[in-house]
Every structure is written in structure tokens, then in C-alpha cells.
Amino acid sequence: MTMNRRHFLKKAAAASAMAAVAAMLPGVLFASDIESDHFPPGIDWTKAPCRFCGVGCGILVGVQNGKAVAVKGDPNSSVNKGMLCVKGYHQTMCISSADRLTKALVKKHGKYVETSMEEALDLVAAKMKETIDRHGKDAVAMYTSGQSTIPEGYVASKLMKGAIGTNNLECNARLCMASAVAGFLTTFGADEPMGCYEDIDHANVFILWGNNMAEMHPVLFSRLLDKRLTRKDVSIIDLATRTTRTSKAADKSILFKPQGDLAIANAICYELINNGWVNKSFVEKHVVFRKGKTDIGYGLEDKFAFKDEAQPIDFEQYKSFLEDYRPDKVEALTGVSAGDIKFLASLYGNPNKKVVSFWCMGMNQHTRGTWMNNLVYNIHLLTGKISQPGNGPFSLTGQPSACGTAREVGTFTHKLPKGVVTNKKHRELAAKIWKVPYDRIPDKPTYHATEMFRAVDRGEIKFIWIQATNPLVSLPKTSRYRPGMQKKSCFIVVSDVFPTPTTDVADVILPAAWHIEKSGLYGNSERRTQYWDRMTDAPGEAMPDAWMTIEVARRMGYGDLFPYSKEKHHEEIYNEYRQFHAGKQHNMAPLAILKKRSGVIWPYIEETGKSTLWRYNSKYDPACDPDKDFDFYGNADGKAVIWQRPYEAAPEMPDNEYPFWLNTGRVIEHWHTGSMTRRIPVLHQAVPHAYVELHPDDARQLGIVNGQKVKVISRRGTTILPASINERGLPARGQVFVPFFDEKMLINDVTLDAFCPISKEPDYKKCAVRIEKL
């Protein structure tokens, strides 16, 4: 104690002397050892994007003695301005989980044996090669993630499509963002939102379409609340099937029946036209009208195929189509009063109000997800409220790099880093940058996510490598796909940070480096690319997914295509990838800029060093034709499409045998399948397990009390969960809600694998179940 005190006195004396010198001789420098001694122990803060959702908050990670000890919001990030959510603050704690995967595990005679990484990668490469030799290229597949970094997605695409020559590459973003992509492509011919989060600072009205933003995009929601607090003219409208925290915070909550959103959107358009609220000059100059196929199916059968066909229509035809959606006519279908629909239309139609529509999984995980996205664009196009500060449709992303990696790098079966495999020019560009023969890249897409796991079940895919995702918790109808993956016919490799139900069925488990244990880049919902540097060492032999892919590619004989260095591969890969997006429409910022700033929104303007905040508006976007005020350059004619899309019923609706709608989703505390967040004590202790939310009247009728264990039963399977009544959320009567994070209470054993025929994204929000007491 005396020693410490004496030490302290000396340091204090020294510090004051130094301060005095500094006052006398500005610019004087002392060796810093005294400072570091004086202030033990130093924490170094390094910037990164958050590991979790698509909001893409900037974080600062505090590292002390080589360990991450704290996280705070980056005040310089314009996304979150210093704020975070409970997941964000505690994220690095998952690294400390005792069951972290640190060694490669190979299944031998039914048991996992610790193996060196070298040997495991040899085995993976040999198996992959052997499978190709014996069964052809399309017998091997990779299934990656919207949580993979940009370099990780890029090397996966290069290996599968460029080196091997198969389109058997998919990712879990198919399960969350495919309808958003299909919506953007069909309406605008180019993916991703036109606006940015700064829209929040300018808008007067926020309409949330089936989006529990308070829990799922909490930091953005706090920005909405902040605006409402500081400005008088801001209102938030929650349009949903379940009463949530968001509904409670909103100025108005409107509940609709599942699938009713299709009719609501059309009814709003009916009202806009009927009341003369259409922005005629905008529509004349920038919009064309089309219709597609109807009665398009649900993809429930294996090898389901569908191709939409667009037919031009005119405004009058569209107008008469909308006659069926007069607000009073759709009341029964939607459960929403004509008054409420007229109210919504009046907000969109008021020329003095700036309106932003937000949505995420409610509209995307929908058997008519692409249509639903089109329909909300219709509203914004009819009113011309798009591509301007505070006016626009805003499709929010679920995963931290669903945009940056899955959509921009294109880790889908039909995609290439630029464009699609069906386009000759796009294949030629990829072949040129990859330095592979052009005809090696196949021109036909193969399996989308759900179909890929059906193909595993059918025995067509004989080797699959899964990276950074946990499909046996996140796929719909896991009651089919788990037994499918347990079959001997497919060799399964899983790269992950923690053991999961998916690693449980693997033949080889490869230990992956977590977020801050590797360098990388993510891209968030607002087209913002964010770079981070490795901050701590990965434990044991864990390595970045990208490096595993490169090691396997080299072992398979593709070394010349993967000439990257271990230390700098993420940079070398990004610089190569950046070439794909050269040009005004999608220019990505150079690495040097990304390292300096918390993030940069593309298209990045080289001349000014600035981001393009609003696309398609020539005031902000240099890629536009300067002679036009708006230019939807994704389409050849520069025009956006208003689609005639009708209401069609959900594939499975409650009946006498299965009388409840089942809705699934997330809670703020847990990230997706919980493999990370459940290993963070604060988060696990807040929500230790899943539950089934019931309406109190339904519970009373069934004689169920809060906390009582009940069976949730569908035609696919059964899960047992405790009932939750009047807790987190309040489902409408006749509906139940279950969060899907809990691997011990797998609700996806119960869900239906129906999907949108255009986007192939499954609908996790609607199927029929019955509830039984145990």
C-alpha cells in the first residue's frame, strides 16, 4: 500500500513537472512510458461495424492486454451517433464462451476427433474433388451467409462459379432478403435502397409495414423517437399483425389480418387515384405500368419452377384493376377499417408531408414477398415520394452484410459479383476479372436455399460446405431438412465459431475466427460499406472463413486463381472485387478511405470523395442523366415500374383442425439462431428460452396460464414451449407468436417451407397450428 502510494506520488510529481515543461516549451515530447505507467492499464479503441443486424452501427471495441474488454457506440458513425443496443454493447463477450470451437473436428467412426487444421483442410479438399470427379460439379455446394464478410463471400463465389464452375452457391440471405432484391429488380432494375438513414432526419411520417423496429432495428427506431421528441411534426404509424413494443411507441397502431397487406397496399393506391393525389408529372415522366402472372403457386413441391412474364398495361387498366380494392370492399379481407386505410392514403397523398416506409421480414418473408415489395413501391411512385431527403421506400436488412456480401458480391445461385449468370456480358466480365475461361461459368441457376436442402435430402447434393450460418435452426420445416442432412449420402462441412445443431450433423467442423479476430468488410442496409481491422487473436487454430476457402481452393489445384497472402488477403480480395463495380452506378470507395471513415455509402464519387446519399435523383446522383430530374437507370428506359399485383391467399390458413396462425420472429436480446447471443450471459439471462405468445382470451379459452408448457402442433411437427401471456408482445386473437432463436425449442420444425415463387424466399410468418396443453 505504502509502495503504491509512493509510486503514485512520484508519478504525480513527474506528471506535474512534465506539464510545466509543456507549458514552457510547447511541443515538447517525453517517452510515453511514464504515461502508460501512470494510467494503468491502457484500453485501445478500434472502430468496426457491429456484428449483428443490418443497421450497421459503428462500434468502438476496447482492447486491453490483447483482450476485448468493452464496446461502445462510435460517436463518429452517422448511423448510430454513439448509440447501441444491448446486443451491440455486449457482443464481444461471446468470445469468452468455454465451448468455443478452437480445433478442427473430424467425425471418425461416429465420433469427433480433434485434428490439425492442415489435415482437416486436406480432407475437405479431397472430398470435394472426389465428389466432383465421381458425381459431377453440381454434386458439390456451398451455403454461406449474410454474416460472411465481403472477402469471404467473394472467394466462395470465385471458387464455386469461377474455379469449379457450378452455380451451387447460396446463402442464408435467401431466407431474409430475397424478396427485397426481387422487388428492387422488378421495379427499378437495380438492387438496394435509393435513400439512406438520413431520410429519418427529414421525414414527417414513418409508416412501418410489419416491422417491429423497436426490437429489430432498435438504434434506428431510437432515431425516429428522437426526431419525434425534438420536432413537433413527426408521427410514427405501425401497421402490423401483432402488437409489439413498436406499436406501443407509435402514434397509431393498425392491426391487419395475415396476408391482408397485399390488399391494403392496393387499397391505398385506389385512394390515391380516387382522390387525385397522384403526382401526374412524375408518373408520366418516370413510370411505366406492367402486370405479371397471377395464381403463381407456393413452391411447396420439390423442383417447383416459376418464371414471371411481364406485360405492359396502361394507367386506365391499372385503375380499373384497383376497383376491387376500394377500402370498404377489403375491410373483411384485411381486418382494417376503410377509415384507417383512407387515413394511411391521406398521409401518403398529402403533398406537404414527407413519408418514409420501412419494412423488413414482415414483407419479405411472405409467399407474395416480391409483390408486396412492388406494391409499396407503387405507392411511392404514384405520389413521386421517392429518392428525395425524407421521402422514400426503405427496405431494411436483417443481417450485417446481407447487402454488402450476399447481394453485392452475389452469393446466390443466379448471381455474379456484378449481374446475373444468365447474362452473357456479366459472365464475360467475371471470367475476365477472375482470369478463368468464360465458358466455365454456367449460365443457368441451380438450387435456391430451400431447394438446395431438398436436394441434399434427395441425395443429389453429395458435398456441402456451410459457413457462418446455422440452417438446422433457421430453415423452415427443419423437421424435413434435419433428417435429410443426417443421411449418409452427403458429406457435410461446417465452419463456425460455436457448436450448433448444424455442426452436430457435420462430418468436418472447422473452427472459425469471430468478427474482431479477423479483418473484413460489411455492407449495411443503406449501401454503407464498413471496414474493420483485426483486433485480437483467434483462439487455437480458428481462422477466417475466407482463408479456409482459399486453403481448400489451393489444395484442389486452383492456387493460381487464389494468389492472396495470409496477412493481407482481405485487402487484396477487396481491391480485386472493387473492379466489378467500377463506374458511376455502384462505385465502391477505395480501401484507404474505408479505413479512415466509419463507413462510406456507394456509389462513392471519386471526384469529391463523397457518398451518393440519394440515388436516381440527378440533384444528388451523378450517375443520372443530368437532363432529367429523376433517372431510374437500372432499367434501360430510365423508368420505374408500377406493377399490377393482386391479393392472393396464403398457402395454409387456419381451419378447424389447426385453428391458429403461427408467426415467428426475433426478440431484441437474441440474434437469429442464438449461437452467439445465448453465449453472452447478459442476453441469455434476459431471455433464457423461447416461448409461445398467446392472446389472453385465447389462453383463457384453452385454460392455459402464463408459463405453462404447451404443444405447438402443425402438419409438419411439434414443439413444446412455455406460454407467454401479456409479456413481450400481444398477438391478435387466433394468432400465436414464437421467437426462433432457441435450438432446444425448435419452432422451425413446425413452420411451412412455402416461398415466394419469384424470390424463392420462404414465409416464416404464416402457417396453421393448433395449441394443446401438455
Binding site: 504525480a12 506535474s16 511541443g27 468493452a70 463518429n76
Partner: protein
């Protein structure tokens, strides 16, 4: 006596010089991630020091409560036991209505103004950021003491208190002010842990004498031209 006044005066000059060093280093650290080029919209929602004076109206009341003899049960260990690491948002140690009509109002009833809660034999801690009303975004209840998988996480040491440049000079602020810019919420008032309670809550302009110095990032602690 006159002589010691001179000495004290000299110390204040020194402290000012030291303060200059600390403040400069902080801004240099922040500029590491500069994203200023894009900050074209209305100003950020979290100016770091905006909350300093928020509870100042209560300062005299805090003094009175100090002297009233009523004691809360919060000590520094209890304070940190609710935080995964110093600076982490504290968990909610009491049952909470998960679904209040108005979350902000519900929580601020107690955590906005404070007051004695007989059921918990404690004074309600005051929030340093009453304008952020999506409370459950960062603060979560504790439903179980178990873990999903064992964790080797060790709570990092709390910042050392009482760190002064000179004996007798005002201690520096050993943590950053982000989300914690209202000093009195943790250091004033009857809910403040005794160990870090300020003896003079009525002198509300805390940053006049106490300068932030996290003791972080050694490379930036010395000012150069």
C-alpha cells in the same frame, strides 16, 4: 499563508496545462474514425456533454438527502455487479412490466427523478439520458442466473478512482462521457454509490474542474503540435 496561496495558484496553472493535454488527446482519439464528410444532416443526437446540467435543479435536494440520514444500499460493488464491464448498460435488477403503455414514461417515473423505493429498500438510480426512451433497447431484465454455455468472461477492472494530477487537485474523470454525461446521476443523489459520491453536488459545473481522462490509448496522451 500568502505563500501557500501562491503555490496553489501555481498548481492551478499546471492543472490547466495538464487539462489541455487530456482534452486534446481525447479529440485526437475520436478523429481516428472521422466520418465528418457525411455528417450533413441535422446534428448528431448525442452531443457528448449535453447532459451535464440536467439534474442540477436537484442538487440542493441531494445535499439535503445526504444529511437526512436515509441510506440507500448501493455500494460500488453493487453498482458494477449490474454491468458486464465498466461502461456497459446496467441490467434491470427488479421485476419489470415488459409491455408498458409508454415505456419512457414508465421507467422515468422512478429513474427520472429518483426517490426511495420501500420494496427494494433503495433509492432509484437516475438515468443520465432521460431523452432516450426506448429503455429496453439497452437495459434488459434478469430472468435467470444460469448461462447457456459456461463463460470465461472476467469483468474488467473498474477505472481507478481518485486519480489526480497533483495531490489535492480535482480528480480526473476516469471514464468517457458517452451516454453518461450527466455526472449527478451516478455521483450525486442518494442512489449514488458512497465510494463515488461527490461531496459538493451543488457545484453543478463538474467539467469546470474535472477533466475526462480515460487513461486509454497511450499513444495519444501527449500533445504535440
Amino acid at each position: 499563508m500568502g505563500r501557500s496561496n501562491v503555490i496553489i495558484g501555481f498548481w492551478i496553472v499546471l492543472l490547466a496545462a495538464a487539462g489541455l493535454i487530456f482534452i486534446t488527446s481525447l479529440s485526437e482519439e475520436q478523429s481516428l474514425t472521422g466520418d465528418k464528410a457525411e455528417a450533413t444532416g441535422p446534428s448528431g443526437s448525442l452531443p457528448v456533454e449535453e447532459g451535464v446540467f440536467r439534474l442540477s435543479g436537484n442538487a440542493v435536494e441531494f445535499m439535503r438527502l445526504y444529511n437526512s440520514g436515509i441510506q440507500g444500499h448501493m455500494d460500488i460493488n453493487g453498482y458494477y455487479s449490474r454491468r458486464a464491464f465498466p461502461g456497459a448498460p446496467p441490467v434491470i435488477p427488479h421485476p419489470v412490466e415488459e409491455f408498458p403503455e409508454n415505456m419512457g414514461k414508465y421507467c422515468l417515473q422512478c429513474h427520472g427523478k429518483g426517490g426511495y423505493v420501500a420494496q427494494l429498500s433503495a433509492f432509484a438510480p437516475l438515468t443520465p439520458h432521460a431523452d432516450l426512451i426506448n429503455c429496453l433497447q439497452c437495459h434488459v431484465p434478469v430472468k435467470t442466473s444460469g448461462t447457456f454455455a459456461a463463460s470465461t468472461w472476467i469483468r474488467p477492472a473498474a477505472p481507478e478512482t481518485g486519480r489526480q494530477a497533483l495531490p489535492g487537485s480535482p480528480p480526473v474523470i476516469p471514464h468517457d462521457l458517452q451516454m453518461r454525461s450527466n455526472c449527478l446521476s451516478c455521483h450525486g443523489g442518494p442512489s449514488a454509490p458512497v465510494e463515488i459520491r461527490v461531496s459538493h453536488p451543488e457545484r453543478v459545473n463538474c467539467l469546470q474542474c474535472h477533466v475526462p481522462n480515460e487513461g486509454t490509448s497511450n499513444k495519444n496522451t501527449i500533445w504535440t503540435r
